[in-house]
Amino acid sequence: MMNDKNSQKIVDIIQNWARKHSIWVLAYGTGCGAIEIPPTMTSRYDAERLGVRGAATPRQADVLLITGYLTVKTMKRVIRVYEQMQDPKYVIGFGSCTINGGMYYDSYNTIKVLDKYLPVDVYINGCMPRPEAVLSGFAQLQKRIAEGRANGAQQYKDNLEWYRANQKKIIPNWIMPEYNW
């Protein structure tokens, strides 16, 4: 018989393998980047061969895909959607806007650094990133999952107060339910 630790390890490997090959994406079409999602999914690039597939609601999704710049107005919804997703869950920041604001770096109305508000696991660089870049981003996420390093959700839980403080700075009327995972 294996001891608990070893068996846990094996279970982890199997689980991570399954998670890695089945990525259900909730594409939050916030910005212009959403236009890159259809080519990624359809015949030419066919993300489904990697196990990537669209999910209809946050309850079913594994990955929150923030496609492009995020305005203050949509921020609240994005946070809500993220919090409604089931563990384990990952966030992919898509395009330069999510990294540093990109071409909206001096806009009064957009989020510059997504990582301050949501725990981003993988960034996809570019403005716009082409479908090849998106696929590579997914591949990167898969790699991190397999290695067990895609633990953004844990990070969010651990540093919830910090995230909350940042979020509340942006959103003036905070009426969201408490995050109680």
Binding site: T57, P58, R59, K76, R77, V78, I79, R80, V81, Q84, I175, M176, P177
Partner: protein
């Protein structure tokens, strides 16, 4: 003094006493009410032997009352459901006005139904029939002003039916020389052909009205939905069965004796089928629980009528079993509606939502009855539906079985609508204060739910009495060696064995319920219905996202052509036409003395002119 007389005296005295006890004390009134329903029920089942007959002579007419297996079965429905509804009514009527009125009519209705079942002669049958009609009519108009049209509609239809029956009764008395039901049946083969056809038609008019057979059903939805719910459970569950009871007697004992009987039964079966379809479609459209259940009652009665009209052993068993089941589940459902009405003050699906966590026991009862209504195993409704289909298929009613199947599949839509409308959906702040119904209302509902469950696996418990009743009516003993309490057979020998099915269902359900609940696997947790994934938006406290207006609209669009015409409209047209005719009649009396004098002269002249014709 015979026991049957004592029972009726208790009913009658109890009704009057209960009415006046209200002037003394409310509690005393409740106690009297319960006693005057439960004591006769006990006395009947404990002391009245099957086959017993007692007589009473009134106005030169011998009234004979007695019990046979067949009427015993219906007595079971009436007194069983009546007792349950009586207990329920104590809770339901608490704090309502006109309690004495309600109790009085309730007891009289029960008495009248028992009277109908026990009558062996046509006069007392008719007397009790009319008492039943007016006591239920008084219940229909219990809610006052707005219901008066509805009440009159009900009473007019009942009266037309009852008078048709009265006509048949006196004709039978004329030709057979006796008011006894038995002698009517014995004499039937000797009647002339036109009487052989007309007598059953006249009787069926009366029974068809009570059993809400299309096209005589238009009173039913309104009347059912406007009576107090505690009574409607009896109204729909038991009172409508009186029509079935009469129909069985007419169809089996009379019509089967003549060659034209086949067409009779076909026509009635088809009418029953159409009733079922129309009732179902209109039920789907309703937004009010009472109306929905009322139309659903019409549809369910349609199934029962189909079962008894096709007239094979299996069909009769199916029809009568469904009658028992319908009493159980529709009684419970009306009780559920009453409980919701009492706790929230409304029965409209667009207003009430999400009561499941507030009224869990009521939901439990509603769930069981809905499953039974939909005919889904392992509850009792399935057994009835199964036998009905098998009876239809094995007796070569290929198209009728499709009609019935369509209606009972479409019934899922309103079944779901009922459960969803009241209990599921978002939990609203407006209904946060709602409490579970009082225990006295819950107990009857739960008892009946459990009964439905038991009958689903052991239908033989009730099929045996039904079988004895059918044997009394002259059927061969269907309860052959193969049948036992939990196996049902069709005419081709195919069967369903209910007991292992129940075990499998329970095993599978429990296994997966455990799997879903088992914390060791992965955790699940409860979140409120406000926490739903609606595009990341957080619904406000008083915001109701429940989908309840225009429910089932796609389906209704698909069947819209069938629902374009309402039979009710035709009747209203006839009634309006008659009213104008009456207005014309009224104008004959002009109020002018000269005209009247002219009338006299005209009368004399006309009579003199035509005296050779007249004299």
């Amino acid at each position: 003094m015979e026991m049957i007389h004592i029972i009726f005296l208790i009913f009658l005295g109890g009704a009057v006493l209960t009415y006046f006890a209200g002037k003394v004390s409310k509690v005393l009134q409740d106690i009297f009410f319960l006693l005057s329903v439960l004591v006769p029920a006990y006395l009947f089942f404990a002391n009245v032997g099957i086959g017993k007959e007692v007589t009473l002579t009134l106005g030169g007419i011998t009234l004979v009352w007695g019990v046979n297996h067949f009427s015993w079965l219906f007595s079971l429905i009436v007194l069983g459901l009546g007792s349950m509804a009586a207990i329920y009514a104590i809770g339901y009527m608490k704090g309502k006005e006109r309690k004495g009125y309600f109790y009085f009519n309730f007891i009289l209705s029960i008495m009248a139904m028992m009277g109908i079942l026990l009558s062996l002669d046509l006069v007392s049958f008719f007397v009790f029939w009319e008492i039943m009609t007016w006591s239920s009519y008084l219940m229909t108009v219990y809610n006052g002003h707005e219901t008066q049209r509805i009440g009159i509609k009900y009473f007019v239809f009942s009266a037309i039916g009852a008078y048709a029956m009265l006509m048949a009764i006196v004709i039978v008395h004329h030709v057979a020389g006796s008011f006894m039901i038995g002698s009517m049946i014995n004499f039937y083969p000797n009647m002339s052909l036109s009487l052989q056809i007309w007598i059953p038609i006249l009787f069926l008019m009366a029974f068809g009205v009570k059993a809400a057979l299309m096209p005589l059903h238009v009173w039913a939805p309104d009347a059912y939905s406007n009576a107090p719910m505690a009574y409607t459970s009896v109204f729909s569950g038991a009172l409508s069965k009186m029509g079935i009871y009469g129909m069985v007697i007419v169809l089996v004992t009379m019509i089967n004796q003549i060659p034209q009987g086949f067409w009779f039964r076909e026509v009635i079966a088809w009418l029953g089928g159409i009733t079922a379809v129309l009732g179902t479609l209109w039920a789907i459209k309703q937004d009010d629980a009472k109306k929905l259940l009322a139309y659903s009652s019409v549809a369910q009665l349609g199934y029962i009528i189909v079962g008894i009209a096709i007239g094979t052993e299996l069909g009769m068993l199916a029809g009568l079993f469904l009658a028992v089941m319908h009493a159980l589940f529709k009684g419970t459902l009306f009780m559920v509606t009453g409980a919701v009405e009492k706790q929230t003050g409304t029965t409209n699906f667009t207003e009430v939502t999400g009561l499941i966590r507030k009224m869990p026991w009521t939901f439990f009862a509603a769930l069981f009855s809905i499953i039974a209504l939909a005919g889904i195993p392992p509850l009792g409704g399935f057994v009835g539906k199964w036998m009905l289909y098998e009876a239809l298929i094995t007796s070569n009613h290929y198209l009728l079985v499709i009609v019935i199947f369509f209606s009972s599949t479409a019934a899922f839509l309103y079944c779901y609508k009922f459960l969803f409308g009241f209990f599921l959906g978002q939990e609203e702040k407006e209904w946060a204060h709602v409490k579970e119904a009082p225990v006295v209302m819950l107990v009857p509902m739960i008892i009946m739910s459990v009964l439905m469950f038991v009958l689903g696996t052991f239908p033989g418990l009730i099929l045996k009495p039904i079988n004895s009743g059918l044997v009394d009516l002259g059927y061969i003993d269907t309860f052959k060696h193969l049948w036992n309490t939990s196996i049902i057979f069709n005419a081709w020998g195919d069967h369903v064995v209910l007991q292992p099915i129940l075990y499998y269902i329970i095993a599978i359900f429990v296994f997966f319920a455990l799997f879903l609940t088992w914390k060791g696997h992965k955790t699940t947790r409860y979140v409120t219905t406000k926490d739903i994934s609606s595009s990341g938006e957080v619904p406000a406290e008083d915001e109701n996202l429940t989908f309840s207006v225009g429910f089932m609209q796609p389906f209704l669009r698909a069947v819209a052509p069938a629902m374009r015409r309402q039979i009710d409209k035709y009747y209203t047209g006839i009634a309006d036409g008659l009213e104008s005719l009456f207005e014309f009649m009224r104008r004959i009396y002009t109020g002018n003395g000269q005209t009247y004098a002219v009338y006299v002269i005209v009368f004399v002249v006309v009579v003199l002119l035509f005296k050779s014709v007249l004299f």
